[in-house]
Subunit: 328 residues, 2 copies
Amino acid sequence: MLSEFSLIDRFFARRARITPRAVLGIGDDCALFAPSAGEMLAISTDMLVEGRHFLADVDPHALGHKALAVNLSDLAAMGAKPQAFTLALALPQAREEWLAAFSEGMFEIAERFDCELVGGDTTGGPLNICITVFGEVPPQLALRRDAAQPGDDIWVSGTLGDARAGLGVLRQEWSVDAGDAATFCRALERPEPRVALGLALRGHARSALDISDGLAGDLLHILERSRVNATVDVDAVPRSAALRRLPSDLQRRCTLAGGDDYELCFTAPAAARAAIEAAGYSVAVPVTRIGTISALQNAAAEPAISWHDAAGMPLTLTLQGFDHFHAN
Amino acid sequence: MLSEFSLIDRFFARRARITPRAVLGIGDDCALFAPSAGEMLAISTDMLVEGRHFLADVDPHALGHKALAVNLSDLAAMGAKPQAFTLALALPQAREEWLAAFSEGMFEIAERFDCELVGGDTTGGPLNICITVFGEVPPQLALRRDAAQPGDDIWVSGTLGDARAGLGVLRQEWSVDAGDAATFCRALERPEPRVALGLALRGHARSALDISDGLAGDLLHILERSRVNATVDVDAVPRSAALRRLPSDLQRRCTLAGGDDYELCFTAPAAARAAIEAAGYSVAVPVTRIGTISALQNAAAEPAISWHDAAGMPLTLTLQGFDHFHAN
């Protein structure tokens, strides 16, 4: 059994391949850190709990990746550049093998995004991973949820639904061939935060968020904060080749209510279409137009999404986004 | 059962009596926030787990207080001024009564220290509270752990040991009269972060930390980071009148290895004695000299604490600070 202090020294010490940003990091009461001149800190915190955000037998390397990836995804959704993070970790026991794999998974993605671990806390307890991440963004370029305007196009990055399809495979809700299963499970366990795309969208997109709880629920957050409606073509929602091999009702369930996609959903004026396409191209991430923002019918109306298919036929969906106090 | 979003709206919305510091707070992917010119952010994170940091039947109002208090205590130990915090909360169930009391306890102390809740996360799961707190301090005035020098006095604020005595009462390790029990339990459940003292010590103290795991273990962190030794008079360690009514071996156990005190331990040159006394007086917090920092015997030596009693008789203590991977 390792003590807290030897654990931090062994598995969470400063890494040479990450730019040091804190003037004081792990080992004091606080880290000391400041954003660059003209930038603000973008701060987000996410807590991952066993049985709810990951299964008990998850590969610890993948878990280390995902714990930081979902936080970096929040920075991406803000158009912020990753700088640093803190890690608080409750562990039922300090198993060296598990910690070695977990910290390796976490630092691999931390190095890739040059994001320094500047502080943390470790304790015994049911497995719980809480990361707070810090990025930088000039405030006037931040991609907020409350900035969508009538007439904006609605875009999403990458493809949606694979992570939910992977969960279904692990839960044996459906079975697919080994190749598709690997595609889906990789999407679930190794989400790729769209940080470069978020940066490329600065000055072009108006509003953005990352899709963590399903497109239907998450897009509604933009609508509620911006006080607008949306119309979405469900057949335009981008899907992987693997997902297209599932029955079409499952495709819709996975793409619209799936969760764990960590793709960006964003809005931009129609005049910015070429710039948005160029931004996606510049970072090698496909971007797809799926709908349009429109005005509320009156000031008291509840923002809503109107769904239709490729033929323009209205669809009634009763899908809900993932809510952490309900079963998925 | 409340959903995540209605829960945040109802219990964790922005409070009127706290100065808004984030240009964007709860409800977007990230909070946007920057320190004042010339200041750095001091950042600390603490995770509290049921059964380890608090008992299952703890008053939720006290728990809300303590969860933020222990984080503010880290800012105090840095000489930093509280600005903002994020809260991540895993709850086995969303009980309104519990959440109302917890959030009230948390916001009472947040208002007192004018510290804004700028973001967070809620999820189902075994009860777990993870707060990341942000303060401001000019970097050259920060009270670091690595700045103690030979000849420095060692000081502590307030009195030590009451919180550990309270834990002993709750665990029925010992019994005391009702008045002392109330004193001890209040110390355990309602620690008061020494924020004002930390600010008053800027420019006078050299090194500091907060005593969360027991004086013996925590002072050693200053010694290890500063590469120095310490000599401490155990009889000079300040104790409450209630603690002085316990047997003397228990007094020592509680004051030296107790944990959960959240008093400051700091070092300062002997020439600063009057300034330190004045700083304590200005914020109405007693400060007591308990020992002296000395040089290591050689560069390879392990830093250590020499304990003695009021008569100068050396004492051998085998106390250890609280380590979260060992039983206390």
